[in-house]
């Protein structure tokens, strides 16, 4: 069986890639993709800890439920985010985030 550390390592890698994408990309859609990556890294952690944390008798469905819940929230968030991006694009003819600083207080 693959040890827990390997899963955590993969999850950390995915999270870092996502964070780097979200911080460096100018395009709003690519930033959203980065955020999705970070969310999925978290999901991977949830499943891994559920599977290994309570070994040898995993509690039925707790970690799985968390992950499904998180995925559902992520889907909703992606829908809202993309909706916003489309509106911003329509409004400002760009998806460049550096141009979007008019809502500062």
């Amino acid at each position: 069986m693959t040890p827990l550390g390997d899963y955590l390592l993969v999850a950390a890698l995915v999270f870092s890639i996502g964070l780097a994408g979200a911080l460096t990309r100018r395009n709003a859609i690519l930033v959203l993709i980065g955020i999705e990556l970070m969310l999925n890294a978290a999901n991977l952690n949830l499943i891994a800890f559920w599977r290994y944390g309570s070994h040898p008798h995993p509690d039925p469905l707790t970690g799985m439920m968390f992950a499904i819940f998180s995925i559902a929230v992520a889907a909703a968030e992606a829908a809202v985010g993309l909706g916003l991006v489309i509106f911003i694009h329509r409004h400002a003819k760009t998806t460049d985030l550096d141009q979007m600083h008019r809502m500062k207080g």
Binding site: L19, A22, L23, V31, L97, D98, M100, H101, R102, M103, K104, G105
Partner: protein
């Protein structure tokens, strides 16, 4: 003479008695509703006012029937409904109403006469711009007057009494654009207020001594035997008991409302109001409220009298009444305004009622009140019809010959006039006035009031014949010819004329139904009562006097049609005394140089004090506060404001610095977030190691 009213307390009150409050409430509610109407809603206003009063009349008739039914079974009905209105400390202010023969009779009279006058008003006021306002006030008056009648609490009575005074003021000044009307309204209000102050003192005294405001409360009321015994034990000044003194204070209030000398001055001036108002308020009902009040508190005045004797308080009432009766009748002779003649006649007749109460008891006075209400309202409405027909002319010298132009008005007016004069047998005034004369005949104190009242009867016959001769006989001396009034005005006249005659039948000596009813005794039919020697003499004497007065006046004024500018027949013979009477015996002028001059002086003193003394003090205080304010402003400007401004500046700078962090670039925020997470993670790791 003083038939003791023995009434067993009734704990139970019939559903009808419990509904009695609806009688005044109906017209009051109608008045409130009409007040919200717009002026052009004339028909709706009149319908509502008439409907509410008709409803009151029906309920009144039912109550009257109930009392009569009880009485014919030998039960003296006196049903009371009491409740506590306000409670403070140990004292309660209690209100309540009472259904007994006295209130039942008055209820029927007020609502019936009121309804007839309302009907008449729809014709008389037809062209007035403020028709809805008129019916609003009239309805309020009717409600308040019915409230006075049913009140079983002297406080409730006083409240309705003041409401009645208010509506009287509003209606006298109904045509307030006429200066005399506005002045007359004020005069009426202030003059009756003089009496009301004494009335209020009486109420307070009565309440402090008996601890209750209710008249009847199953033996615990303020005019029932228990309380009276307490009051009787306390002597006040001048040979009066506390009961008598309180009674006299209340009588002062009654004298104000009922125009008794010396507070009569407002009533003739009150004729500035519309004629239906004069008929309803200043002839039939409100001015009779004083008489009713005395009848209501009669036990206070009467208690302690020996059988056949009298009390000091009742003696005062009798003398004031008799004096007013003659005094006002004398003035009425020399007046030329058709309504003023009737007004002085009203004052005089109210004097008769008071004298009747003082000498003969409740029933004697109230019987004259009821018959007078009908024939005097009839006369006023007839006068209104005449004024209406003569294009608002009120001077009797500019009328004449109207008997052919206004036949119906003439006929009814003649009936009213004969009833007022006390013409024998057929007319109610004869029987009710005869009752008063009979009481005066048997009065133990003095016979003088009897002669005064008989002289008053002579004067009454004289001035009424003079008036009728001027108005209806001779030839027309006015401008445009007179026209008869419409049926809506003459029909109430005819109904009232019927009652001006028929009402006498319930109070003849042979069948004293009314008196027995009010006194709670059985009424028997005894024709031989007519032929008691004293009574026959008295009736013949009063007949002779009346006929004499009428013949005298007819010889002087009948069919002569003097010119308006020509001096009066009597003036030619007695110019000096005529001048005195024409100028109303200078009572107004006397008040002018005494009371009014004193108030004028007092107002000047107050004005001087205001300007010279109080104004200085107020100015001084203002100055001190001004200086204090200056000091405060200096402190504010130099110390308080400076520190506050500094604080604000610091806040504003700090805010500017913090605002710089908010770049609005979402990725900068994310970066800071990520760095913070890294820092947190590192701290966790290190702390875990340590």
């Amino acid at each position: 003479m003083y038939a003791a009213i023995s009434i067993t307390p009734q704990i139970w009150s019939s559903p009808l008695a419990r509904m009695l409050w609806l009688i005044p409430a109906g017209p009051m509610a109608a008045s409130g509703a009409i007040a919200l109407f717009k002026q052009p809603k004339r028909k709706a206003a009149a319908t509502l006012a008439l409907g509410a009063l008709a409803f009151s009349l029906l309920l009144s008739l039912a109550s009257f029937g109930h009392v009569v039914a009880g009485w014919s079974h030998g039960i003296a009905v006196r049903e009371v409904v009491n409740f506590t209105w306000i409670q403070f400390g140990a004292a309660n202010l209690e209100l309540g109403w009472v259904l007994d023969p006295l209130s039942a009779v008055m209820l029927v009279m007020v609502s019936f006469v009121g309804l007839l006058i309302f009907i008449y008003s729809t014709g008389y006021m037809e062209h007035d711009a403020n028709y809805t306002r008129f019916f609003c006030f009239m309805s309020l008056f009717a409600g308040a007057m019915l409230g006075v009648v049913i009140a079983n609490s002297i406080l409730l009575l006083f409240m309705c009494w003041e409401l009645v005074g208010l509506t009287s003021y509003l209606l006298i000044g109904f045509w307030y654009q006429k200066p005399p009307a506005a002045a007359a309204a004020k005069k009426a209000f202030l003059t009756t207020r003089v009496g009301d102050v004494f009335f209020l003192l009486g109420i307070v005294w009565l309440f402090s001594q008996t601890g209750t405001l209710l008249f009847y409360n199953h033996g615990a009321g303020s005019i029932e035997v228990g309380a009276l015994a307490v009051l009787l034990a306390q002597p006040a000044a001048l040979g009066l008991t506390a009961a008598g003194a309180i009674g006299l204070l209340i009588f002062a209030g009654a004298a104000g409302k009922s125009g008794q000398f010396p507070l009569h001055v407002w009533l003739p001036d009150a004729m500035e109001g519309p004629t239906p108002v004069s008929a309803l308020i200043h002839a039939a009902t409100m001015v009779a409220a004083g008489v009713y009040l005395i009848a209501r508190v009669y036990p206070l005045l009467q208690f302690g009298a020996l059988p056949g004797g009298t009390t000091v308080a009742l003696t005062v009432v009798a003398w004031v009444g008799a004096f007013t009766a003659v005094f006002a009748a004398l003035i009425a002779i020399a007046q030329n305004d058709i309504k003023r003649i009737l007004a002085y006649s009203t004052v005089s007749q109210l004097g008769y009622m008071m004298a009747g109460l003082g000498m003969g008891g409740v029933a004697v006075g109230i019987f004259h009140l009821i018959t007078h209400a009908f024939f005097k309202a009839l006369l006023f409405l007839g006068a209104g019809s005449v004024i209406h027909g003569c294009q608002e002319e009120q001077d009797v010298r500019r009328m004449g010959g109207l008997k052919s132009d206004m036949p119906l008005t003439f006929l009814t007016y003649a009936i009213g006039m004969l009833a007022l004069c006390g013409f024998p047998l057929l007319f109610s005034g004869f029987w009710s006035k005869d009752g008063i004369l009979e009481a005066a005949q048997h009065w133990s104190v003095s016979k003088v009031p009897l002669y005064m009242l008989i002289f008053g009867a002579l004067l009454t016959a004289f001035y009424m014949t003079r008036q009728v001769a001027y108005v209806f006989f001779g030839h027309w001396r006015g401008g445009k010819p007179a026209i008869e009034s419409p049926a809506v005005m003459t029909m109430p006249l005819a109904i009232m004329a019927f009652f001006a005659m028929a009402l006498g039948l319930i109070g003849t000596p042979a069948w004293p139904w009314f008196r027995a009813f009010l006194d709670g005794r059985a009424a028997g039919f005894s024709p031989h009562a007519f032929f008691e020697p004293g009574l026959v003499t008295l009736m013949s004497a009063s007949t002779v006097v009346v006929v004499l007065g009428m013949i005298l006046a007819w010889r002087m004024y009948g069919d002569r049609s003097p010119k308006p500018t020509e001096p009066d027949v009597l003036e030619q013979s007695f110019p000096v005394s005529w001048g005195w009477l024409r100028d109303r015996l200078y009572v107004d002028e006397l008040y002018g140089v005494t009371v009014i001059a004193f108030y004028d002086w007092w107002a000047r003193v107050a004005d001087w004090l205001d300007r010279r003394v109080w104004a200085r003090i107020v100015d001084g205080v203002t100055h001190v506060f001004g200086l204090w304010a200056q000091l405060n402003r200096f402190l504010d400007n130099n110390w308080v404001d400076g520190s506050f401004d500094k604080g604000c500046e610091e806040l504003s700078t700090g805010g500017g610095l913090l605002a710089r962090v908010q770049t609005g670039r979402v990725q900068t925020y994310l970066r800071i977030l990520a760095m913070a997470v890294v820092v947190l993670a590192l701290m966790l790791i290190w702390s875990g190691r340590a």
